[in-house]
Symmetry: C2
Subunit: 202 residues, 2 copies
Amino acid sequence: MGLRERKKAQTHAALSWAAIRLTVERGFDQVKVEDIAEAAGVSPRTFNNYFSSKAEAIAFRHLDRCLRVAEELRGRPGEPLWDAITGSVLRQFAPDAEAIAHPPPVDAAQWTEGVRVMVAEPALRGEMLRAGATAEAEIAAAVAERTGGDPERDLYPHLVASAVMGAVNTAISHHLRIDAAVPVRRLLTDALDRIAAGLATP
Amino acid sequence: MGLRERKKAQTHAALSWAAIRLTVERGFDQVKVEDIAEAAGVSPRTFNNYFSSKAEAIAFRHLDRCLRVAEELRGRPGEPLWDAITGSVLRQFAPDAEAIAHPPPVDAAQWTEGVRVMVAEPALRGEMLRAGATAEAEIAAAVAERTGGDPERDLYPHLVASAVMGAVNTAISHHLRIDAAVPVRRLLTDALDRIAAGLATP
DNA sequence: CCGCAAATCTGCGCGGCGCGCAATTTTTAA
DNA sequence: TTAAAAATTGCGCGCCGCGCAGATTTGCGG
């Protein structure tokens, strides 16, 4: 990757993190695009060269994470399908090195509450789901490679991908709904196990 | 339901149908809010009393349909869970009396193509998914009633609801991707059956 | 090290959107 | 019939997304 692309990636990340941080701190519509651009050290106009809306900037990190699941999945060709899926998901949603570098310039509890408010924002929810759907296509492709199906014609890979993203979304929502001490890791494994078991009544 | 609420429902429907029709005909950003309002015989300002964006107006019909699935589900307490789910979904996504009343002032193929373009619109995709998520909460509640769980604390109802909406979305996407003669009904039953079977490799 | 071409950033400006506010019209209930 | 409640409407503001064209930076061959 050349210097050029690396700088682009940096700017993407900087803008996204700035958008998240400011939104968590102040709330979605107390943040202007101008503020995000300034925080990332770039002109307002440039913001829209990278993202077509505030919401997209905020959802970018989610998109990235989910895309990495597909990537990771391709890197585990041997394992049984659902083992590979669970492993990939857990890997990407583990406490993150990047997240530790960037994150809360404030109290942890306060941060979590800010995130809760943020993801409740209607405009954001749509954008997050859209990011999930984008990743879903990649996951479907990865699954198709593995099981030897055609993503254009077969329903199966898309169903699996959809179920996986559904499990992820559900686990995260549950985690934010209940601020209990249940670790996300357990919620994710539970969810995926249940799905692989046909969602039989517990 | 009083006269008042009925008129509101009418206006909702009128605005939504107008938004859909115009968007299918001209494309998303060739339609101004003003146009939709005019087509529904209402002032532009009133549009925003009903919907907070063009996208929301267009997605309204989808939201309505999906909410009816939850409603129908509550009306089938006896059946085994997945039979009830499949039944409810098929009922709501069958060729629709309302859709036949309102719909294409143009060629059917042309209409389908317009719909394809419409749902490809990024802003719309997010809004449709959000509508699905809203309905998902209702479905989860309905499932919880049936299985005797607590939607606040249990993961299971949400997982089922998520899987159902995932199946619906996947089936619809597949239907639009392949313009084959495969009826949506079959795609929906296939998808739901596979999920209830634990998504085993076919 | 130089200079050129391509990619990127930036300032400007426009049209549309979402919504608060207050006045007006319509509906409901007494 | 009349008063209260609710819905519709017009007006106006601030922000947003983006096209355009000029300035700036980056990558590369000489």
